[in-house]
Amino acid sequence: MSDIQARLREIARRLLTEGHVRVFIGFGPGFEANRPVPFFAADPDAADRLLLDEFCAAGLARYVLEEVREGPVGLVARGCDGLGLERLLADHRVAREQLYVVGVSCRGVVDPDRACAAAGEEVRAARVNGETVTLITPTAERSFPRSACLLDKCLRCQDPTPRIADVLLGEAIPPGERDLAHVDAVERMPSDERYRFWARQFERCLRCLACRQVCPACNCVSCSLDRPEWLERGTGLAEQFMFHFTRAYHVAGRCVACGECERACPAGIPLGLLNDKFMKDLRDLFGVAAPHRPGDVEPLGKFCPDDPEGWHEGGEGT
C-alpha cells in the first residue's frame, strides 16, 4: 500500500500544483492511528498528509457534491466510491470533467473495533490478503478470517476496482456477481415475525438522517422527507416506517451498494437489507444483471412489454 500511497501523494500534489483541481479528497490521520478520517487537501503541501491504508472507511463520493460547486475536484476512489461517483454522474449532479478520479483497488477495509476484539489488543496495522487478514499488534502478527476483521459492507463487496478512474494505481481486480443471499434469511421468516423484526429495528432509529447524508443516491437538492405532507416530525412507528420505506424506495434501482448508510447508522439498523431486497427483486423479476451498477436508464425508468407481474410471483413463502 505504501508505494501506492506515495504515488497518490505525488499525483495529488501535481494536480493541485498545476491547478487541475481545487481540492483533492482522500484520507488523513484521525485521532487514532487506526481511524483515519476524510481529508481535503487544498494546497500542494497538504497532499503529503494524504494517507491510504486498510482503515480508511468512509465513502468519499458524496463529498464531491458539495466540493464541486467551487471548482474541479480530485479524489481517490475505491470500487464503492467509483460506483457512487457513477451514480452522481448518472443523476447529472456532477459533470465528469469536473472530476479527476485516482482509482485504487480495495480488498476490504478493516473495522478497528472488530479487529481489536479479534486480536485482543490494539491493532496498529493490517494486511488484507485473499481470504485472511493479518493484524499487527504491538506484540504479535496474526492472521484471522476476513469476517472477523472487515467492515460488514466490505464482506459482500464485489466491486474492488472503480470503473471510471482517470488513472488506476495498482492492479485492477475483476468484478464479481453480487451475492444477495442474506435477503433470503429475512424472506424466510413468517410474516408476523418479519414485521416484529423490522419494527424493533425501526424503533431504534434516531432519525439523525446520517443514512441519507452519506448516500450517493440520496443526492436531491430538496428531500421529500423534509416535507410535512410526507413525514411528520414524530418518531412514532408510523413515521419510522414511512421514513425507512421511502428512503429505501427512493434508492431502489439506484443504490450502488456502497454500504455507507449502514456503516453511518449510529443505531446499527441493517439498512443494507432493505436496499438489497429491492436489488434482489430487480434482478429476479426484471433481469437487471447488476442493479447496483449505474446504467443508461435506471431500472424503474424503463420497462419491457412482457415484464412479469411481481405480485403474482409470491414475494414470500405464503
Binding site: Y195, F241, F245, Y249, F286, W311
Partner: protein, 140 residues
C-alpha cells in the same frame, strides 16, 4: 374485534379504466361490500407507493391499486411503469411484514364492472379473515 367489523379498503383507480369499470358496476347495479373507497387518479402511474403506505398508516386494512390492462394505457406506458414499481413495492411491503392479501394490484378495464365487484368481494373476505391492520402504525 366486534363481529360486525368491516374492513376499510382504499382503492386507487385510474380514471380511464378502473374508475370507469367501477361506474359500470354501478350502472349494472352489481352489489358489493361498502368497504371500498376510491381515489380517482389520471393513471395508475400516478400512484406514488408512499400513498399506499400512508393509507395503511391512517387506518386502511387493505389497499387496491388498479389501472388499465398492460397495452391499454390511455397514456401508452403509464401502467407498464406501475407494473414494475408495484411488483417491487408489494414484495417490499411484504418483506416489512405486511400480509400479501392487504395490497392488491389489478388490471380492471372500463368493461369489467363485474370484475371490479368481484375483486372487492374477494378482498373484503380476505381482510375479514385477517382482521384490522395494525402493522406499520403504532403498535409493534
Amino acid at each position: 374485534m366486534s363481529s360486525d367489523w368491516q374492513p376499510r379498503i382504499v382503492g386507487f383507480a385510474c380514471r380511464w379504466c378502473t374508475y370507469a369499470g367501477a361506474d359500470l358496476a354501478g350502472t349494472s347495479r352489481l352489489e358489493y361490500p361498502a368497504t371500498v373507497r376510491l381515489v380517482r387518479v389520471p393513471c395508475s402511474g400516478r400512484v406514488n407507493p408512499s400513498f399506499v403506505l400512508r393509507a395503511f398508516q391512517r387506518g386502511a386494512d387493505g389497499v387496491l391499486v388498479a389501472g388499465c390492462h398492460p397495452g391499454d394505457c390511455h397514456y401508452t406506458s403509464g401502467n407498464l411503469f406501475t407494473r414494475r414499481r408495484f411488483s417491487l413495492v408489494k414484495r417490499f411491503l411484504e418483506y416489512l411484514g405486511l400480509e400479501p392479501e392487504r395490497l392488491r394490484v389489478e388490471w380492471i378495464s372500463a368493461a369489467e364492472g363485474q370484475r371490479f365487484a368481484q375483486v372487492i368481494r374477494e378482498m373484503t373476505d380476505d381482510l375479514c379473515r385477517l382482521g384490522p391492520n395494525r402493522k406499520m402504525r403504532e403498535e409493534p
